[in-house]
Amino acid sequence: MTTRETASLQISVDRRGFLKLLGGGLLVCLSPSSALAQESGRGFRGHELPNDVSAWIHIGADGRVKVFTGKVEVGQNIRTSLAQAVAEELRVPFESITMVMGDTDLVPWDMGTFGSRTTPTMSPQLRNMAVAARELLVEAAAKRWNIDPSKLTASAGKITTPDGQKFITYGNLTRGEDLVKSAPGDPPLTPATEWKIAGTPVPKANGHDFVTGKHQFPSDIVRPGMAFGAVLRPEGYNAKLDSIETTAAEKLPGVKVIRDGDFTGVVAEDAFTAHQAVEAIKAKWTMPSQPSNQGLFDYLKANPDGESKPDHQSGSVADAYSSGDVKLESRYTTEYIAHTPLEPRAAVAEWNDGKLTVWTGTQRPFGVHEELMQTFKLSPKQVRVIQPDMGSGYGGKHTGEAAIEAARLARAAGKPVKVVWTREEEFTCAYFRPAGLVEIKSAARKDGTLVSWEFHNYNSGPAGIETPYETPNQLIQFHPSKSPLRQGSYRGLAATFNHFARESQIDEMAHALHMDPVAFRLKNISNPRLRAVVRAAAEKFEWDSAKSSPERGFGLSCGTDKGGFVATCAEIAVNPSTKNVKVQRAVQAWECGAIVNPDGLRNQVQGALVQGIGGALFERILFSNGRIENPHLSKYRVPRFSDTPQIDIILLDRKDLPSAGAGETGIVGIAPAIGNAIFAATGTRLRHMPLTPEDNVVKS
């Protein structure tokens, strides 16, 4: 890669028009030769980044800075942390930056907001552009004053001469000059040790709008003349429509029933009537016989979805296992669980002169853009997707169902239409974190050295599947299965279950070897970053003096995925008569390189732990013969205030390492830590997630 290389730039007519809209000023476009730009543009169904630009910064004559990105804010705080990174490199106050996010007409193409990729890829990309912009501004000032640019200082949105006598603001510098330039690809970035804005606990951008109710989430969008839509849902998975009778619905005031192939929806002047109309439709369905929770894991193992290969293979697990001193063979299982974002899927669609605009909650605005293009046979320019900061996603909002439904209804109704899914629709029409089965065979020598590790995951996924424990003989393999329910992405995805299985097994090995679980881990872990979080968590938790009893258990787990390192300690109390389990205290140590925003990071790592308590203890989808049996919050338990333990979060700041994302991996540690604590207290090893769906430890 040639650094400092300046590529020629072509700005499309649209972008030029857009620039006019912004007024004059400096517009920075990162060279397409940037390694980061290419990385994020490849590997998604052959989709390449547009050649004209990969990212944008605009500095207005008033000194206001607009930053454009296809990443979206869903509660993970990147509207704030990305702005901090840009402010740092551009040398402007944080407050002068406005992030323009997730609007397909305004921002460069982006694959989507998932996989903890914003901090490791989008942040450096924007920082590169900010440095380039700063350098251009300095050069412009140097030219104006006829002075060596290296003598000038850029700070707080202005450039100052060495004697401090003269200064010019960025706004004044760009005014009237109509600067549009391409920028060097990979300029040097400010090291984290010198950060002044990045690395500090800047509060969430627009916090005021959230405490006053002013912020408009996707489901809050209102358009002039807007009507409300609702959709007829099938009775269950794989249901076939036999007959439909819509007369009663059509008799309701102002109701229009829209049928289009398998799709049946209604539009009404108000939301209440729209839902009444759907209920008034009489539909008869045929449902084929389908799997249920009962027998699910045998079904997943017996129904592979294509061939698979080992994810990791070294030595011979067969030989090493048979020659080991301590051997364990175990089977772990996990149920489907639901994201349950508090804001359900929602969209408002509007057609104007053949152009479709949709406001919707999605982690992939450009993915939804493509879905809409394909569904309605539109060109890229005929579709605009706008993603207002939404009521969370946790990996559950990758797809554009609500957007397509609203667009279909709006086209037929000839006016803007809003569709907001009910909670029941969220449970029955979205997708789940995959259920899965893990089978492990492990062996160690008497001295506690792991010698063999065989790990098979059926259906749950390959994320976090590799072991961080030094083991000479390994066979690790993910086996995809045919899933009876619709499944998809989720915060951390399979890393949670893979860590649960691995860390439960490791704990059991330690006990079988009569070794302390922390000592056993440290004996077999060489990665210094993982060792550091284990030590930090154990120290804060006072692990060495934590002695379990039948009524009180202490457990620990650790792991790494997506550049984050985590160790979690849990203390649980077991009610002696009911055997109910309560998580009393948790300590979680976390490290993901240089910390961009310690307050936001702490919030993420703590929130992930709290969310993880649900999947660990009680969340599960119950289904039978294609029907979801608990599609309501009264039947699907999520963590509440009363489930939340006292939590200590320890952040290790590695300013010498690049920042990794932190939205996901903080969720992986709590389930095995609790399971290990339950074992320490009761001697019962629970190998199924959720651990205690009926609240108590069921004796196996």
Partner: protein
Amino acid sequence: MSKFLLHINGQDHSVQAPDEESLLSVLRNRLALTGTKYGCGEGQCGACTVLMDGAATRSCQIPAAAAAGAKITTIEGLERQGRLTPVQDAFLEEGAYQCGYCTSGMIMSASALLHDNHSPTDEQIVTAMNGNVCRCGTYPRILAAIKRAASLSAGGTR
């Protein structure tokens, strides 16, 4: 279908809606007061919490027509002449949210709690707030914000 007056945030709104339509639906879909959120429709998540004559009420569980005559306060009605309430201030200061979708309901429930009990214990806060779900898991910060709001109020800053 009925016609009635709703008294919301100090203003009268004339509403025409079916008898069974919820207060939440009327607020959001007829009066464009979208600060109050839909989360579950069965009174389980607290996102739709409003104050009715000072009491925290799940607006998805009560027909709008039944709210006629009551003094209703929604999240939009808390700020007065640009001044936030201690609860709103405390949520900002503690950063007691992530996506912010539960925040309206949390603030309304917490406001009712602190109105009735000026210095609640942790246990009383957990009991009072347990019907409000934050799926992002910011409960420890919300708890801290409520305690901070209690001390802000006690300090006579408002």
